[in-house]
């Protein structure tokens, strides 16, 4: 990092926070603070939804994942447009007409207070864990890359989030997200252009694509059905649709975004913008990872991308022996890649790639950190021009802040509306509840920083909690489907349905190898079956009586 990079990084951070504060000025009522007075245009909502979902770790990991495993992760997003259409047709008009601040408030209008309270608790647990992780995971990576102490990274990120989220509310969060999303796309386009531009002069863009394909890195669609396989066309279209329905339809961090819309139509357009853009954007990000892979076919990569672990292990004889084998495998791979470029068969190239993978796997076992998250950052810090390095690191920094601020804002909203106002302080002035919203925001911000520091030593926990959403979303989605479509179902049926759905999801996660995307479908179906059964049995009993 040069002085120019530091200036750009801090300049970008200062600009984004100031811009958020400026746009969030005038948030001096609860309606303004939590829902931006319902004045948001569709493009701001759409970009903000995308920015919240694209956390820094997704951004860093996705490119690394394509480098290691190819582009098949794109299938995870195939269900998103389907979910956006279904929600635009159902949830958006229902929530708008219910005139609610939170999705869970609607559950009391439709069922009863116990169902609302149960789902509120499920949300606070699930999203509470998620908020800490959204801060922890990128902080670990950024502290390594920037050479900062971990606690300092989380405190700087958390402090800035608390500042603009507490002052400007959802309007500050949304408008900061808009800038953030545009900068992410600009930075990614530049990264791709540079990855291609830095290839050897005799390797064209089409040659690079051919080499990536020969290495199996362009495997965007896999049509084989396998319940235990995380990413294929079917888990994407079915499992992911349920996950996205649950995430965008029942998670307050997303519902709150489209409740800020000035009309039902604006909210729908915001969601549909996400529907149209998300799959191509993810394809593009993964494609960058594939091109970075080709770049490193011709530019010798380190055996490990994690700089601290690399430095530590380079002192050991075992690692140095691996480096010797690695150099040999890399030379063979480069020679074979040139044959692929010239139209030769890819067998030698794939065999050489397997040798490279084998050595990297052995080195990975010696390392104490996952290497995938450092691949793209290693490319950025070593090969991008001065200034751009600072900009991309700044963008990643603020991507983490964007995801966390949305989550903290939604946790504060639910705490204020569904817990404090509902159970502890029914009546009060608008000013009182605005203060309560701000206090709740500060509380959740401090909690996220504390959790991130606590979670640092538990790498496996971070991996596990990343999938935590799917443990809770199925039953949350189920109860909203019951609310929208099972007109005769009452609060008791919904309440027991949620409990049964939750218990089943935990059991499936604990005792079966079924991939996590399917938990959403399973949890949702159990809620529907239990709610329908209770409704039918109680109707028959009342008819008999």
């Amino acid at each position: 990092m040069t002085t120019l990079d530091w200036i750009v990084l801090f300049g970008w951070l200062a600009f984004l926070v100031s811009y958020g504060l400026w746009r969030g000025r005038g948030s001096n009522s609860v309606n303004q603070f939590l829902l931006a007075g319902k004045t948001m245009p569709w493009y701001a909502m759409g970009l903000s939804i995308m920015a919240t979902q694209a956390s820094a770790i997704t951004f860093i990991s996705t490119t690394g994942q394509a480098y290691v495993d190819g582009m098949r992760f794109v299938q995870f997003y195939f269900g998103l447009p389907v979910a956006m259409v279904l929600l635009s047709a159902t949830a958006v008009p229902i929530f708008h007409r219910a005139k609610v601040y939170t999705a869970y408030e609607y559950l009391e209008q439709r069922f009863d207070s116990k169902t609302r309270s149960l789902v509120t608790i499920i949300f606070l647990i699930g999203r509470g864990l998620g908020a800490g992780i959204a801060l922890a995971a990128p902080s670990i990576v950024m502290s390594v890359v920037l050479g900062w102490p971990y606690y300092m990274t989380t405190i700087i990120m958390g402090g800035l989030i608390i500042l603009y989220t507490t002052m400007g509310g959802i309007k500050a969060v949304t408008y900061a997200d808009v800038q953030q999303m545009m900068m992410i796309m600009g930075a990614l386009i530049l990264a791709l252009v540079i990855a291609i531009w830095k290839l050897p002069h005799d390797v064209s863009f089409l040659d690079a694509v051919k080499i990536a394909g020969a290495a199996g890195r362009l495997n965007a669609v896999d049509t084989h059905f396998n319940l235990n396989d995380r990413y294929n066309l079917w888990s994407g279209l079915i499992g992911s649709t349920f996950l996205m329905l649950a995430y965008f339809g029942t998670d307050q961090s997303q519902v709150q975004r489209y409740l800020t819309g000035k009309s039902i139509g604006q909210s729908r357009l915001g969601l549909l913008l996400n529907a149209m853009a998300k799959v191509p954007i993810q394809f593009f990000i993964l494609f960058i990872g594939a091109m970075v892979f080709v770049f490193f076919v011709f530019e010798r990569p380190p055996l490990l991308f994690q700089p601290v672990e690399l430095k530590r292990l380079e002192q050991t004889a075992q690692f140095r022996a691996l480096e010797g084998r690695y150099r040999q495998a890399l030379d063979q791979r480069e020679t074979a890649a040139r044959k692929v470029k010239d139209g030769g068969p890819g067998d030698d190239f794939r065999a050489a790639q397997q040798r490279v993978n084998a050595v990297r796997d052995e080195a990975g076992k010696l390392s104490q950190d996952s290497d995938t998250n450092y691949i793209f950052l290693s490319f950025v810090t070593r090969y991008l021009p001065r200034g751009l390095v600072g900009l991309i690191l700044g963008v990643i920094f603020t991507a983490a802040m964007s995801a966390s601020s949305g989550e903290i804002n939604s946790l504060a909203t639910v705490t204020m509306i569904d817990v404090y106002q509902r159970h502890f302080h029914r009546q009060g002035s608008d000013r009182h509840f605005l203060l309560a919203s701000r206090v709740a925001t500060v509380f959740w911000g401090i909690y996220a920083v504390a959790f991130a520091n606590f979670a640092q030593g538990f790498g496996a926990l971070i991996e596990a909690v990343n999938q935590v959403g799917s443990l809770f979303y199925g039953s949350m989605l189920g109860v909203f489907v019951v609310a929208f479509f099972m007109k005769r179902a009452g609060g008791t049926a919904a309440f027991w349905g949620v409990l049964a759905g939750q218990a089943t999801t935990f059991a499936v996660a604990r005792f079966t190898p079924i991939a996590y995307l399917w938990y959403n479908l399973i949890g949702c179906v159990v809620v529907l079956v239990v709610a329908w059964t209770i409704t039918t049995v109680s109707r028959r009993s009342s008819l008999v009586a």
Binding site: S29, V30, N31, L35, K38, V74, F78, P81, V82, M84, V85, S88, A89, P93, H96, R97, K99, V100, Y101, E105, V209, K210, A212, G213, A214, A215, G216, L218, N219, A220, V221, D222, T223, L233, K262, S263, I264, G265, R268, L269, L272, A275, M276, V279, P280, F283, G346, R350, I417, Q421, R422, Q427, G428, S429, D430, R431, H432, F433
Partner: protein, 56 residues
């Protein structure tokens, strides 16, 4: 302080607009358009995969 505006759990009364979309006339047509684009994107991604896939 008695005349301070009170907080209401229900959002202040406002006309809920459900206007037609800015293009294609009706919302169901817009939804169909989005799903057709998705099908097209998946098909293109599948062709891309097939074209560049290494031999089995």
């Amino acid at each position: 302080m008695a005349d301070e505006p009170q907080f209401s759990e229900t959002i202040p009364e406002k006309v809920i607009l459900d206007e037609p979309p800015p293009f294609l006339g009706t919302w169901p047509r817009v939804y169909r358009f989005v799903l057709i684009v998705l099908a097209l994107v998946i098909f293109l991604a599948w062709l891309f995969t097939k074209h560049y896939a290494p031999p089995a």
